[in-house]
């Protein structure tokens, strides 16, 4: 079978599986549509949460970010896992006990304020819509590279599959497809990693291989990597900049990712699907187990891919001549077609010189060798997808990785779309516009909202705004600065009142959004920024991606201050908070629906 047929078989088989699950898991009530009838086993929910959480960014981009960022990219590893500790300890069990369907619903009830609920709906929709664009473009890229269909066709096929299981099955259908998608994506991620780890270090487990010896030279793999990248003028892979501002930025960026993770509604609502409060706690642990399988593998994939890449370009060592363009391996040819890997022979010698042209000291060495600039540009995103080809693995592994990338993008897209549609049908339509709507009417509204959300996401995926890549910072910034603090204060303080919550959310939101716009341009329009988005040039010496943590602190402070000078929370709200804090009675709260 040729590669194209293999890809088609693997992607086709997984899609057939997802559709099969959709037909089996249809939702008959709003409780099933919003919360899968609260009957999901904690381990099952953990697996679904892992797929829900690990997006195209985790699967496709993260290892590439680590490969080229080295130690500095550890922020992604700690940030995107550390948030689960916050979720398990500070939010998930209590929000499950509260026993409702959406995140804005908790905020509206706890702060006895329709305004608070609507502000939360706005935050949720902005954060989730910006996030879903990236997933849809990821689907398009994976299709066009592996199935040789146009970006548009690929995206429409992907949208049709999500439509089938999300509109029919709601949370119930999404949960069980996410479980299947997790299995596909983790298999696809780990199999090439194991092969590569064996090739480079002789150790089968990639996380251990990362800290083992590189069999070709007998020295530790990371020491070898440090040497070869420095030979090309890059900074050492494990290097930490220990001056104050870079350290502060790494600290705040990691913190922003952690509290942003804990505040993202599409992750929080997954914990509404388990039967009991204790299950919500266990489930967060299981989610992190399944996430850690990928997140412990990713740093090994990153480091090994970087070393493989240097060895491919400089087969005789990084201080010798690189390979000739005419002798480049097939995988480079394949990826040149996509434009994600580019070669330009600047000095006309027919060899591929790849080095750090931004390093002035190394520039002298390069000039002595007759190099006139780095001739190879490699997009971060191709490393994971190209890994099996770089390592010379069989065709079925490449097909599996294609199916895995699609599973990662589709599972996250479905989770986000459910968060968006339930906010529209439950918080806007039932909560604000037509409170008397019947159960059947609401279920229909939820399905229509889902269909519209899919259409909008597909349209945005086909016409991605130029700023698509930038908006992830916005999604995490908003979740960190607006949603996480009010949720936490709503549980851990009885004193924070309606005015405090609204003022805190708005302060965190406006501060964060304005700070991002000041550095990335107003509404991401290039050239409208007042400050360069670098550590040295930024307003407070903090890059805009790391500002969410500061916005969160502002949110806490404003909410506390405003609550202090306004009327105390009413007794029935204090009773509500007390009841949310104890697990007993979670089952009966669910039965109210």
């Amino acid at each position: 079978m040729d590669q194209f047929t293999l890809n088609l078989v693997f992607v086709g088989a997984t899609f057939a599986l997802y559709i099969g699950i959709a037909i089996w898991a249809r939702a008959g009530s709003t409780s099933e549509f919003y919360a899968a009838g609260r009957g999901v086993h904690p381990v099952t929910n953990g697996m679904a949460t892992a797929a829900d959480w690990m997006s195209a960014a985790s699967f496709i981009s993260m290892a590439g970010l680590i490969a080229f960022g080295g130690y500095t990219a550890s922020s992604f590893l700690m940030g995107w896992t550390g948030g689960y500790v916050l979720l398990a300890l500070l939010l998930a069990p209590y929000l499950r006990k509260f026993g409702k369907f959406t995140v804005p619903e908790f905020i509206g009830d706890r702060f006895y304020s329709q305004t608070a609920r609507l502000v939360a709906v706005a935050c949720l929709i902005i954060a989730s819509v910006t996030y879903v664009i990236g997933q849809m473009t990821g689907v398009g890229v994976a299709f066009s590279r592996f199935l040789e269909v146009s970006n548009t066709t690929g995206l429409l096929i992907g949208a049709a599959v999500v439509f089938a299981y999300a509109v029919l099955g709601g949370m119930k259908g999404i949960t069980y497809t996410q479980v299947a998608q997790y299995v596909v994506l983790i298999t696809a991620y780990t199999i090439p990693a194991i092969f590569i780890s064996l090739q480079l270090t002789g150790v089968a487990l990639p996380p251990i291989g990362l800290f083992s010896e590189y069999t070709a030279t007998g020295e530790p793999l990371l020491a070898r990597l440090n040497d070869v990248v420095q030979d090309l003028g890059f900074s050492a892979y494990t290097l930490q900049d220990t001056s104050f501002l870079p350290m502060l930025n790494m600290f705040l960026f990691t913190m922003s990712l952690m509290i942003g993770t804990a505040g993202l509604p599409h992750v929080i609502i997954r914990f509404f699907t388990v039967p009991r409060v204790a299950d919500a706690r266990w489930s967060a642990g299981w989610a992190l187990v399944f996430i850690a399988l990928l997140y412990l593998t990713a740093p090994a994939v990153g480091a090994m891919a970087r070393l493989n890449l240097v060895d491919t370009i400089y087969p005789n060592g990084a201080t010798e001549q690189p390979i000739a363009y005419d002798e480049r391996p097939d995988w480079i040819k394949n990826w040149e077609i996509t434009g994600l890997l580019k070669f330009e022979d600047k000095n006309g010698d027919g060899l591929i010189q790849w080095y750090n042209e931004g390093n002035a000291t190394f520039g002298e060495t390069a000039a002595e060798r007759g190099w006139q600039g780095s001739e190879l540009t490699v997009n971060n995103d191709i490393l994971v997808l190209a890994n099996p080809e770089i390592a010379g693995l069989p065709g079925w592994v490449i097909a599996l990785v294609a199916a895995g990338g699609l599973a990662a993008a589709l599972s996250t897209a479905a989770g986000l779309l459910l968060a968006i549609s339930s906010a529209v049908s439950h918080d806007l339509i039932k909560g604000a516009i037509n409170p008397k709507i019947s159960e059947r009417g609401e279920l229909l509204a939820a399905r229509i909202a889902m269909a519209v959300a899919i259409a909008v996401a597909t349209w945005l995926g086909l016409n991605p705004p130029g700023f698509a890549a930038q908006t992830v910072a916005l999604a995490f910034g908003i979740a960190a600065a607006s949603l996480f603090p009010v949720l936490m204060m709503g549980i851990f303080s009885t004193r924070i009142n309606n005015h405090g919550a609204v003022a805190g959310m708005l302060a965190g939101l406006i501060f964060t959004v304005v700070y991002i716009f000041l550095h990335k341009g107003w509404f991401f329009i290039p050239g409208t920024n007042s400050f360069p988005d670098t550590i040295a040039g930024s307003l407070f010496g903090i890059q805009s991606t790391a500002i969410g943590a500061v916005g969160a602190i502002l949110n806490f402070a404003v909410a506390y201050g405003v609550s202090k000078v306004t009327a105390d929370t009413p007794q029935e709200i204090k009773d509500l908070v007390e009841s949310v804090r104890v697990p007993r009675g979670a089952g009966s709260a669910a039965a109210d629906h």
């Binding site: 550890s74 590893l77 398990a88 990371l222 600290f251 266990w282 642990g285 850690a292 412990l296």
Partner: protein, 86 residues
């Protein structure tokens, strides 16, 4: 003890457990992984230093342990204070 006192004692024990867990959470990630990494640079592991390991693997493993530790301890607290789910 009245129900209210019981609930209060339960909540206090919970908050204490949360604080202990979050201190560990912060030490392994923000501490060993970032701010304190220079202090750990003398401890070599696999071609680099312990702080690098904490930043890329160690912190994740500790996070995992923390969540299960918390879930386990909370289940016994629930029973001890009589607020577990029937």
């Amino acid at each position: 003890m009245s129900d209210k006192d019981k609930a209060m004692a339960y909540w206090k024990a919970n908050v204490r457990l949360i604080l202990i867990s979050l201190v560990i959470w912060a030490i392994v990630s923000f501490g060993f992984g970032i701010v304190l990494r220079p202090l750990l640079s003398g401890i070599a592991i696999g071609g680099t230093d312990l702080g690098f390991w904490f930043a890329q693997q160690g912190s994740i493993l500790v996070f995992l342990g923390l969540i299960f530790f918390y879930a386990f301890r909370m289940n016994s607290l629930d029973r001890k204070h009589g607020v577990d789910e029937e």
